[in-house]
Amino acid sequence: MQISELGPLLPELIIASLGLVLLIVEAFLIKRKEIVAALALLGTFAAFYSLTYTSFGPAFSDMFISDGYGVFFKIIFFVNLILSILMSVRYLKTEDSFHGEYYCLLVFATCGMMIMASAGNMVTLYLGLELMALSTYVLAGFNRHDSKSTEAAIKYFLTGGFSTALLLYGIALMYGVTGSMDLKAIAVYIAEHNVRENPMSTIALVLMASAFAFKIAAVPFHMWAPDVYEGAPTPVTAFMSIGPKAAGFAVLGRVFLYTFAQLAPDWTTMLIALSILTMCVGNVMALVQTNIKRMLAYSSIAHAGYALIGIIAATPEGMSASMNYLLIYMFMNIGAFSVILLLNTKDFKGLEISDYAGLAKAHPIVGAAMLIFMFSLTGIPPMAGFVGKFYVFMSAVRSGYMWLAVLAVIFSVISAFFYLRIVMYMYMKEPEREVELAHSNALGVSLGVAAAFVLLIGIAPQRFLEFAKATVRTLYF
């Protein structure tokens, strides 16, 4: 190993050392725990900035690949991390569950995601996935005194462990077929040999798809999501509904679109079934929820279904549509969770949809922000959600999946019903009680950033589209 090989790993190194530093610093800080958050933010910004200095190319004999594709996802992870930290400061105080490991775990989970997005080898991929998964298991159960939170953690852990086993089995079978763990070598082998005849490769494909579907919470591998999202501390829910999902998509893109490109007819069929089921179950189940976190859990399932459409298209354009969708989804989801957190005070949880009755009257700005996020999640212009959906549908139509696009738009009409219910409660019902908002500047910042980007991408998407397009090209190195 040479020092020069560390260049491509610069952001990962910064984030990993940040996690370690946080662990130590936390032990010495007795009173002012906010400093840990500030330090975490600082470190993340440094890592973010280091992206511009990171050299591209493979490292450690192709175990790790630093490319534009990875950078796009790392930007999502960093923004997600920054906004999640901002959202957490107040929440941890209110819930009185501050432990220094919290930020450290967020940072390590992000590090895992980054490794996943840049994995050039099945082993690296697995390592990244486990680092992410183990950190999020703990985060889900962070409210130790809350039985729901503990339940969420154990459920997440058990089902997550199961899915990891599936992945390992899939990797093993694929190794048996191709004799390699390296993504590039596998791609070359598949291109030169007719592995589609080999049932082992199909089984491996199914197993790996199942494992990734678990990470992005696609139906029928979604069972854990509603309970975990509801039970986990709210900022963690926000973090989990975006980070692991985006990481799952990053891996899906690299492994399926690049490595298994020749097997596209097999895996697109699988993903189509997954996507339709996901949109259907996610949207329909969200209709009947009364708890807003649970509703957003199902909504997040449904959005995975839309984002999958881009991958199904199996073109660079489709992948960039999916990436763009995830970026937009991040801002609208973080925004919605920020509003939920604003309602969370010492003696009021504000997790029922009926708690939003009359919110716009008492707090017009928060109401308006939530309105923007809800319409964006529905996919109504001029919000960003529309641009995301438009791009995804366009790539589907271009690849000849008109019928899939028709199904998708019908499901997004269904989704209007439950998103607008929130708007209806906020604007059209009289308040049942006086709702006081949590005072937190950090939370205000995350809300403001999310709202600004939802509107900006909605009105002037040009730069974001071009960025996604440019980065996806590097996937096919």
Partner: protein
């Protein structure tokens, strides 16, 4: 426009339409800054903005070149280069009058809401301003993507308008309205994407002279039909309309009746006819049948209504049936009649909803049975209402007559039985409107409404412009049809030309 949003002038840089779209949006942003308790400041700002906007669009009326079918007041800038999308606005003979009507309707809506809206005043006027911007945006967009943005964006403030300030059944009406229109719109969206895939452009002007394969035209026609038929609304997808119109606040009803439902018919004229000419011709008979069903069905339902607003709402179904009948007659009388009737219906039904709103503000009842002898109590109001009733019935000398007459000529030319059936719709219209007038204004004075004050100066000012338009169009229709002549002639040429082209293609394939 912000330099990062739009750059590079592609063709034309007239500011008239851009200002008309964004001035209300700016006004809405400005109003955000005003303290929510300063109601009169907010109202005056809204009034000033809407009047300024109307003055701003007057050049469209005075400087419009009636001799050409080309787009005028064009402005085009690059917007989203990745998808070849431009910010592209302009008007022709079909759209110019709707931009003017939208600007006028907004002023009247502000005036009629002056005292009627007491709750969340600031939000109300902001929503109204945003609606105005979106309405004008829809009528002046020449880029399909941009059209769709405005088309959908308008749903948001409209949904809020019905849902927040509406009547007792507002929640149901609002979500029903939203889901119906959204379902239609998303199917149109797929149509838009398909066209883009086939031609690589969102430019509507270019597409209006592009020949798409006939089979594809058929598919696209139905995709766009889903959106337009719901908006018009055509039978059998009209059921959202009575709920939304009835439950909406007066300003909302006026916007819905005068402008929003015209967007559907406008869509037929802007997309279906010129872009899918062959498909339009082959489905025209079916569309005419649906229109006639709408005319008669809407009229008959009106006879059994007990709610003032609901009656006028159902009469819209009937009247819009005339509009689509005219459009799908596919001849010059029918098309011009259809467009003119869209304006007329906007004026008349808008005025009727304004009137109902004014009387509701005093009596707080919409039941016809609660009225009677209103002519004794509110004589000036009765006079206004009478004029609008006659216009709605289609009495010669009013604008309603000109429009319906042209449509009937068009209908007869295209298909005799359809023309005859549509003409019975005129009679039904006379029955329910005159009967309504009789029950509300004549007979003995009902105790419930005794002692109501007559309309104020502000309300007279609100109704007067529409009254003038009723007679202006009624006596001198060519001042308005003159705008359309060149464009409609070109559209008809396109329809016939397209037909010939399709025939040629058919012959070629047969010969081969």
């Amino acid at each position: 426009m912000n330099a990062t949003v739009c750059s590079v002038v592609v063709a034309g840089d007239s500011y008239v339409l851009t200002v008309a779209i964004f001035l209300p949006v700016l006004a809405a942003l400005l109003m955000l800054l005003i303290n929510k308790n300063r109601h009169s400041t907010i109202k005056w700002t809204a009034l000033a903005a809407s009047i300024a906007n109307f003055i701003g669009v007057i050049p469209l009326f005075t400087d419009f070149d009636k001799t050409t079918a080309k787009m005028q007041f064009v402005a085009q800038y690059q917007w989203i280069r990745a998808w070849n999308i431009n910010y592209y606005v302009g008007v022709d003979g079909i759209s110019v009058l709707f931009v003017l009507l939208s600007a006028l309707a907004t002023i009247l809506c502000v005036l009629v809401s002056w005292t009627a809206i007491k709750d969340k005043v600031k939000e109300f006027f902001i929503a109204l301003m945003l609606i105005e911007g979106a309405m004008i945006g829809v009528f002046s967009s020449l880029d399909m993507f941009m059209f769709y943005i405005f088309w959908e964006a308008m749903l948001i403030p409209m949904y809020l308008l019905v849902g927040i300030w509406g009547g007792p059944g507002r929640l149901y009406a609002a979500i029903k309205f939203f889901l119906y229109t959204l379902t239609g719109s998303v199917l149109m969206l797929l149509g838009v994407i398909t066209i883009y895939m086939m031609t690589g452009t969102f430019d509507m002007v270019k597409l209006m002279s592009t020949q798409l394969p006939v089979g594809m035209q058929m598919v696209l026609f139905w995709a766009f039909f889903a959106a337009f038929a719901v908006k018009v609304p055509m039978f059998p997808v009209h059921t959202w309309l009575p709920d939304a119109h009835t439950e909406a606040p007066t300003a909302g009803s006026v916007i819905l009746a005068a402008i929003l439902i015209k967007m559907g018919a406008y869509g037929f004229l802007r997309f279906s006819l010129p872009m899918f000419p062959d498909a339009s011709q082959s489905v025209a008979p079916l569309m005419m049948v649906l229109s006639v069903v709408g005319i008669i069905y809407g009229g008959v339902i009106c006879l059994s209504q007990t709610d003032l607003k609901r009656l006028i709402a159902y009469s819209s179904v009937s009247h819009m049936g005339f509009v689509t009948l005219g459009i799908f007659s596919l001849n010059i009388q029918g098309l011009e009649g259809g467009i003119l009737q869209m304006i007329n219906h906007g004026v008349i039904t808008g005025a009727l909803f304004l009137c109902v709103g004014m009387v509701y503000e005093r009596s707080h009842t919409r039941l016809i049975a609660d009225y009677g002898g209103l002519a004794n109590v509110m004589p000036v109001f009765a006079g206004f209402f009478m004029v609008f009733t006659f216009a709605s019935v289609g009495l010669p000398g009013t604008n309603g007559f000109v429009g319906e007459f042209l449509i009937l000529i068009g209908g007869f030319t295209a298909n005799k039985p359809v023309g005859i059936l549509a003409a019975t719709g005129v009679i039904i219209g006379a029955v329910y409107m005159l009967w309504l007038y009789q029950r509300v204004f004549y007979t003995d004075v009902n105790e419930k409404i005794a002692g109501l004050s007559d309309i104020t100066f502000r309300e007279v000012v609100t109704l007067l412009p529409l009254l003038i338009l009723v007679f202006w169009i009624g006596f001198y229709p060519s001042a308005f049809t003159g705008f359309m002549d060149a464009t409609v002639t070109q559209l008809l040429g396109r329809l016939r030309g397209g037909h010939m082209q399709a025939l040629n293609m058919l012959i070629e394939t047969v010969v081969k």
